[in-house]
Amino acid sequence: MADDSYARDEENFEEEEVDETSFRAVKDAVLFAIDVSSSMLEPRLSGDTKKPGQESPTSAALKCAYHLMQQRIISNPRDMIGVLLYGTESSQFYDEDGDRGDVSYPHCHLFTDLDIPSAQEVKELRALAEDEEEARKILKPSKERVSMANVLFCANQIFTSKAPNFLSRRLFIVTDDDNPHGENKSLRSAATVRARDLYDLGVNIELFPISRPDHEFDTSKFYDDIIYKTSPSDGEAPAYLQPDTNTATAKGDGISLLNSLLSSINSRSVPRRSLFSNVSLEIGPNFKISVNGYLLLKRQEPARSCYVWLGGETPQIVKGITTLMADDTAQTVEKTELRKAYKFGGEQVAFTPEELQALRHFGDPVIRIIGFKPLSTLPIWANVKHPSFIYPSEEDYVGSTRVFSALQQKLLKDKKMALVWFIPRKNAAPVVAAMVAGEEKIDENGVQKVPPGMWIIPLPFADDVRQNPESTLAVSPDPLTDAMREIIGQLQLPKGAYEPQKYPNPALQWHYRILQALALDEDHPGEPEDKTKPKYRQIDKRAGDYVLAWSDQLDAAFDKMFGGTAATTSTLVKRGPKDSADSAGGPPAKRVKTEGGTGGVDEEVKRCYEKGTVSKLTVAVLKDFLTAQGRSAAGRKPDLVDRVEQFFENK
């Protein structure tokens, strides 16, 4: 709970993405600016006859914003999001005191103020995106043309006041109008000046252009003057168009429009934050280039629970403050008075802070290549944590990119890897790691899925390798293996590959789904969606017969290798009866078991349940049964009996 946060923070220190050089807060603020014009509101029918439906570009954009809002509550709980509608008949903004209702920005309607979203705001945005009644009230295009300079300055003011000192501030413009001011020079130049203000403020404009059915969006007409070559907060980020030129414009009809917009926005849902920057990649003695490191894979955990104060009108999050006190005098201890010491046989062995730091120091941050090896020498088991991703930077060494590229291509081509000594940041513990080249991967919408670069996979030290536990070996004879091969052949995942995108984390999603329901006072959402559950029906249909054939082979091989009695003698005595039951069992039910006859137990427990005599079963049988059902087998006998009965009741 909240109390152990201090210790945990320390543990996670090395994983944090920090900017050591900047005074700015490592936070992200995204403001959607969504064009509300009659063409943006024109519903587009879905071309797919199987999935009829219609979607206007504005509603697609709102759905994307809603989707991103929900997603960021989970993934970036400290980051801000807002929605500004422009071109609306109505105008809404806040005046100096923070109240809304001013008209200094005509036809700009600040629908969701830039902030960490509240449950209420989530609800309102959803209503706007999904409820037509609600939407009709607000989504009325103005008759007068909105000034883009005004829209941009409005955004400027929102960022300036609501997200001061954020490392990353991004304005997402969704529009189908590639030339809002035509030939009107003064309006155009006013807009370019306001765009420059945003750039100087450190706001990155990202455009999500939508083509009209009869007109391709042409950025050269207006937006090329608005958008900058580099991102103000990430000088090395590619200019917005480069990686996905072919899909820059979302087009087409309803659903596909929504999908391509979603995919495009998803790919920019988080700003690039580096894990470490400008670290030397030492290719050989006296030959260095510079690289930046990123965390592209990191387990997303639900936010920890916290304390909520219930004494007021609305529940409030409580901030816990820890005070350290000396045990003997009960006086408050300042951080500067702290000393670290190690326990050593009942005594403390102390070091000064300088010494402690020196002990952690193994040289400056570096990725130093100590040699190369075929990729095949990297054992599948040799892993301890997620990898880091590296990409070249020209900041310290001009020419880094071409050298990195040459190395990456060579390693890809010859299926080699580099062995490296890796110190990611100052005083981080050094590791020996495998540096593996990764290829660029593009998804079906043409959006980059995996970037090209190299991955640093920390290897275990001898200290981290556990000895294999004892295990009996019974090598499968060929016919049995062949039978299993048939099964495997039937159940390949699509394209024979694992796609993380297809498997949302069910526990994480459920956690936030429930929180959302509680926060919005909605009904319990019912059944959770869990895409990690195997497709049982398909498995039965496709592989069922092969499983039965394999089972016959297994019985045959087992009889041949161990005979009828061998199993019993090689087993713990108390398991004897079950094993024999299984070996003897030419099963009437064909369910395939190798568990040594839990089937018999299943039946027995079921019979007892029906007769109401579960409590007469032994603890061992109850435990076996519960374990076989994936239930906890902890506790005393009455608990076990309860759990078994519950199991049948819920069936």
Partner: protein, 665 residues
């Protein structure tokens, strides 16, 4: 539990042990103690109460000292189950009595004691130690001790070997417990007759061994002076330290309260979560309401091809999955899966719930076949939420702003460079079939472990450099480098990499890219803007930057800074509590960054001094100490010479000004 241990170390402290021999810098005793201390501290470090130690000092007869040690052990251990050991370290020059050797040997064996004899400069042909000009008395003693040790199944060795082995870090062997016991299944056995289930167990294959962790202590009140005096030295062995307790208080925001915060009682608090910025309270009866209902099991989802799996998707440490103990049928069944996966070059993907109500994870199951061991290697794969899509440009081509694909570019390697890289990589190929995992040791873990033990024995000594063993992989092997020298030189010349001088780093270098995609000269437009001679408060940062970039005289820079500082001070004055502090930090930070770039650090430094005086003098709307603290934390102190060459402020001066002392100006 580990077995109880009783060890007696017999250390020869005879006069001859005080001599330095064979060019060693330490006396025989110091040399011997190196070994003894290492063993003793290693035992103490385990913190085990059941590992006991005794020490016997010996001045003359080594053999009778063994008898003393036997008695000590027997008195202490009685007839209980103990691992008994006597370690004798000597240089073998004293008087020794060989009477009753047989009896002693018999006693040692009967009592189940292991006798280890280590001698300074004892001959050991296997290890390669032979003392030239050994005097005959010592030779006799050596023979005697060898007979004694080996005659009772003990160990006889030379000290040099024992000491050299100390250099090799010792690995703590941890016995793994199963983290899952249940079924590896294919299909739903509760619904389909064709479901397959194999009872399995899961154990760690790798698990990161963490360095020992330090605890926090406070310097004992009154002891502070003492410690300051001894700065550089450590506070000695724990006397000056006192343990720490933590106490927690809880606060909520309350705008009406002074300082905007108010304390609340622990009893008024309930458990909850944040959903966005909304607090969601969960009543105790609903405690597990957000927990997904799951049941333990390892269920196969499907299979993937090995060549389509990217190794970097491994998210965690790895485990082994083996058949249920003593279940031959399970072994056979699992073996068929392992072999089939292997033959088909396939991995299985499965959903694992290790215990009821735990969140499911998706794991990869890979076959592992060794001559006498078969198992599945299992590790976690990423979920959709675990993948962050940061985009990066391709490395083998350059796409221009207009969408054109370019294959020759300064960011792309030439054919020459590619060839040179290829040759270099080939020349740096490491020998051996396997990765050197077995002889790579966690540098931090062993360094701290050694340092703690060393400090315990020598509290006054400074900390040591890490041993060679620990940094063995910090650099490429010399011979390999020598062999690759030519190809490296060719690579360096083909690469033509230039180090960026530290000064020209930073944003101003990118001036030419500060243009929109169209290349439009916005600066020219800005100059035409009549309004922009005064910096407006609401658009201060952009206008400040623009004013500087247009500045053609130092006066304009001065003016810009003056305007900016007055805006910042107004923001401070009008800040309700800390409401404007982030804006202030942003304004100051921008000013600092820009003035470094324009090489006008003095302007910033002078202003910061003035600001500090005003803040600490409470001239800007009362107590703003918290703001000064924030400014320090944001590293917005004086611009020193390390940051800007033209600065007159040294690093130390900059540090001082950042301190909170009022009287420094």
């Amino acid at each position: 539990m580990a077995e109880k241990e009783a060890t007696v170390y017999i250390v020869d402290v005879g006069k001859s042990m005080g001599e330095r021999r064979h060019g060693r810098s330490v006396t025989d005793l110091e040399w011997a103690m190196k070994y003894v201390w290492d063993r003793i501290t290693a035992t103490v470090a385990t913190g085990r109460k059941t590992a006991t130690i005794g020490v016997v000092a010996l001045r003359s007869d080594a053999v009778s000292s063994v008898v003393v040690a036997i008695q000590m052990i027997n008195t202490y251990t009685k007839k209980l189950k103990y691992k008994r050991r006597i370690v004798l370290v000597t240089n073998g020059t004293g008087q020794m009595n060989n009477e009753g050797l047989d009896e002693i040997q018999k006693k040692i064996q009967d009592d189940g004691i292991e006798l280890v004899v280590l001698g300074a400069d004892f001959d050991d042909p296997e290890f390669g130690v032979k003392e030239e000009d050994k005097d005959s008395h010592k030779a006799e003693n050596e023979t005697l001790l060898q007979v004694l040790a080996e005659g009772c199944g003990g160990v006889f060795g030379t000290l040099e070997q024992a000491i050299s082995e100390l250099e090799i870090p010792r690995i703590k062997i941890t016995k793994s417990m199963p983290s899952f016991k249940g079924f590896l299944s294919l299909g739903d056995a509760s619904k389909y007759e064709t479901a397959l289930r194999i009872p399995v167990e899961r154990y760690f294959r790798t698990y990161v061994a963490k360095p020992p962790s330090a605890s926090s202590f406070a310097m004992r009140s009154g002891g502070q002076e003492e410690t300051e005096a001894g700065a550089g030295q450590s506070p000695s062995g724990g006397e000056a330290l006192t343990t720490i307790r933590t106490s927690r208080t809880y606060q909520i925001n309350d705008e009406s309260a002074p300082g905007g915060k108010v304390d609340v009682e622990r009893d008024d608090l309930a458990k909850g979560y944040e959903y966005g910025r909304t607090a969601v309270h969960i009543s105790q009866t609903d405690e597990n309401i957000t927990t997904l209902e799951t049941f333990a099991g390892m269920e196969i989802i499907g299979f993937v091809q090995m060549n389509k799996y990217d190794r970097y998707l491994h998210m965690t440490n790895t485990n082994v999955v083996i058949p249920q103990k003593a279940n031959d049928k399970a072994s056979l069944a699992l073996s068929s899966l392992i072999h089939a996966l292997w033959e088909q070059e396939t991995y299985a993907v499965a959903r694992l719930v290790a215990k009821e109500a735990k969140p499911p994870i998706i794991v990869l199951l890979a076959p592992s076949i060794e001559p006498d061991y078969e198992c599945l290697i299992e590790l976690a794969l990423p979920f959709a939420e675990d993948v962050r899509s940061y985009r990066f440009p391709p490395l083998d081509k350059v796409v221009t702003v207009s969408g054109k694909i370019v294959t020759e570019h300064r960011n792309l390697p030439t054919e020459d460079l590619q060839q040179a890289m290829s040759d270099y990589v080939d020349s740096m190929e490491l020998d051996g079939e396997e990765l050197p995992i077995d002889d790579s040791y966690s540098p931090l873990l062993h360094r701290i472990d050694t340092a703690v033990r060393y400090r315990a024995v020598y509290p006054k000594e400074p900390i040591l450099e890490p041993s060679e063993q620990l940094t063995k992989f910090a650099h490429p092997d010399n011979e390999l480098v020598r062999g690759a020298k030519d190809s490296l030189e060719k690579l360096i010349s083909a690469a033509n990499v230039k180090k960026v001088p530290p000064k020209s780093k930073g944003r101003k270098r990118l001036r030419e890219t500060e243009k929109p995609l169209s290349g439009l000269d916005v600066d020219a437009l800005l100059k035409q803007e009549p309004k922009r001679t005064k910096i407006s408060a609401e658009n201060a940062i952009p206008e400040f930057k623009q004013m500087l970039s247009r500045a053609d005289s130092i006066e304009i820079i001065h003016d810009a800074v003056k305007q900016m500082t007055s805006i910042i001070e107004t923001q401070i004055k009008h800040s309700l509590g800390d409401a404007n502090y982030d804006r202030v930090v942003e304004g100051l930070g921008t000013m600092r960054e820009e003035l470094v770039d324009y090489e006008e650090p003095t302007l910033y430094n002078d202003y910061l001094g003035a600001l500090k005086r005003k803040i600490l003098g409470e001239e800007l709307g009362g107590d703003r100490n918290e703001l000064w603290w924030l400014i320090r934390k944001s590293k917005l102190g004086l611009i020193d010479q390390a940051t800007s060459e033209v600065s007159k402020v040294t690093e130390n001066e900059a540090k001082e000004v950042s301190s909170n002392e009022r009287d420094e100006f």
